[in-house]
């Protein structure tokens, strides 16, 4: 009876084939190599940023979905955990506006020629 109870409890556990983990592990290695190569070949500008973001999102997605088993959880948990961090993007937007403003006032009040300054677009 006790044996049956423990067996039942373990129905809740996440059981997946080892092969799946090895494939994801391999993919993470490939993606990390790719993002390292972005720097190694010193790609610049929008190509660099979009590649960095793409590899980052793919890696994060694989880790959360497979290694953390989120892909097999019920939607109620997925949304409770994954939706709140999306709001951080709003915060990013606010801080981008704020930092542009700070940059602008620094240029204005320190009175230097802004073309000498670092700008990510260059």
């Amino acid at each position: 009876m006790a044996q049956a109870a423990t067996a039942e409890t373990h129905v809740e556990g996440q059981q997946h084939p080892i092969m799946l983990y090895l494939v994801v592990w391999g993919l993470l290695f490939v993606l990390s190599t790719c993002s390292y190569l972005v720097d190694y070949f010193s790609l610049q500008g929008y190509l660099r940023w979009s590649l960095i973001l793409a590899f980052m999102i793919l890696k994060a997605g694989l880790i959360v979905a497979v290694f953390m088993h989120m892909a097999w959880e019920r939607l109620a948990l997925i949304y409770a955990i994954l939706l709140p961090p999306v709001l951080v993007l709003l915060f990013v937007g606010i801080m981008v506006l704020e930092s542009d403003y700070t940059f602008f006032t620094r240029v204005l009040f320190f009175g230097a020629d802004p073309s000498h300054f670092y700008s990510p677009a260059k």
């Binding site: 423990t6 039942e8 409890t9 373990h10 809740e12 556990g13 996440q14 059981q15 997946h16 080892i18 983990y21 090895l22 994801v24 592990w25 993470l28 290695f29 990390s32 993002s35 390292y36 972005v38 720097d39 190694y40 010193s42 960095i52 973001l53 590899f55 980052m56 994060a60 880790i63 959360v64 497979v66 290694f67 953390m68 088993h69 959880e73 019920r74 939607l75 109620a76 948990l77 949304y79 409770a80 955990i81 709140p84 961090p85 951080v88 915060f91 990013v92 801080m95 981008v96 704020e98 930092s99 542009d100 700070t102 940059f103 620094r106 240029v107 230097a112 300054f117 670092y118 990510p120």
Partner: protein
């Protein structure tokens, strides 16, 4: 626990789960649920760190030091950009792989393999922290301080030490956590239902998965730090 009930899926499933009796997160034990909620709060902490880094980097009028050069190592006479960070990334990913397999062997009640893989994960983690200590030492010797550095914007040092320091602390705590749980698994605590020293409650192999969640999260945070701090 282990109900054979078929639950509704999709939006109907969310509504049914959240409005149900006793527990909102079906198929998830309280331990796992609380770890997820803790990780959510930790996500906000790291988000705030990375956001403050973004803000100081965007608003400074002084050029930002080039991380590709700052973190380069000279190996055999040639300067390889960012190589130490790349190796650290691969080590952390490998530790995530061994952790995922430890969880699997835990649920199969193969306690020796599960404990061995957890200890291997902890060893990878300790290696990572060691390399981070090396990196910090190198940068401090080169004159990087939270208030300045030889190459550009002063904010570089403060954000670097804060973000990587906090992440390194998480890895260290993870290593300790892994060793404690690996010892319990090795001893067979979850087969003999031995009571925990702190909670006096019986545990089960799910704790391996919960430890795994924390460990994968540490790896996850590194993915973002690697992209935003080292590659950007």
């Amino acid at each position: 626990m282990g109900e054979a009930i078929t639950r509704p899926s999709g939006w109907r499933g969310i509504a049914a789960d959240l409005s149900s009796d006793q527990r909102a997160f079906k198929n998830v034990s309280w331990g796992k649920g609380m770890m997820w909620i803790f990780l959510l709060s930790d996500t906000f902490i790291f988000s705030c760190f990375l956001l403050s880094y973004m803000t100081v980097r965007m608003s400074t009028t002084v050029p930002w030091p080039n991380p590709s050069e700052v973190f380069a190592l000279t190996i055999g006479g040639t300067k390889v950009p960012l190589i130490l960070i790349a190796i650290m990334t691969f080590i952390l990913i490998s530790s995530s792989g061994t952790m995922a397999m430890a969880v699997n062997y835990g649920y199969r009640r193969d306690r020796v393999k599960a404990a061995a893989l957890m200890l291997l994960t902890a060893a990878f983690g300790a290696t990572f922290v060691g390399m981070q200590a090396f990196e910090w030492t190198k940068l401090i010797m080169e004159g990087v301080r939270p208030w300045g550095n030889p190459w550009g914007a002063d904010q570089f040092g403060s954000t670097f030490f804060m973000i990587t320091g906090f992440h390194g602390t998480h890895v260290t705590i993870g290593v300790i956590f892994l060793i404690i749980i690996a010892r319990k698994v090795w001893r067979g605590d979850f087969d003999s239902e031995r009571r925990g020293f702190f909670t006096s409650r019986k545990g089960n192999y799910e704790i391996v998965e919960i430890t795994g969640l924390y460990w994968h999260f540490v790896d996850l945070v590194w993915v973002f730090i690697f992209a935003f701090f080292y590659l950007w």
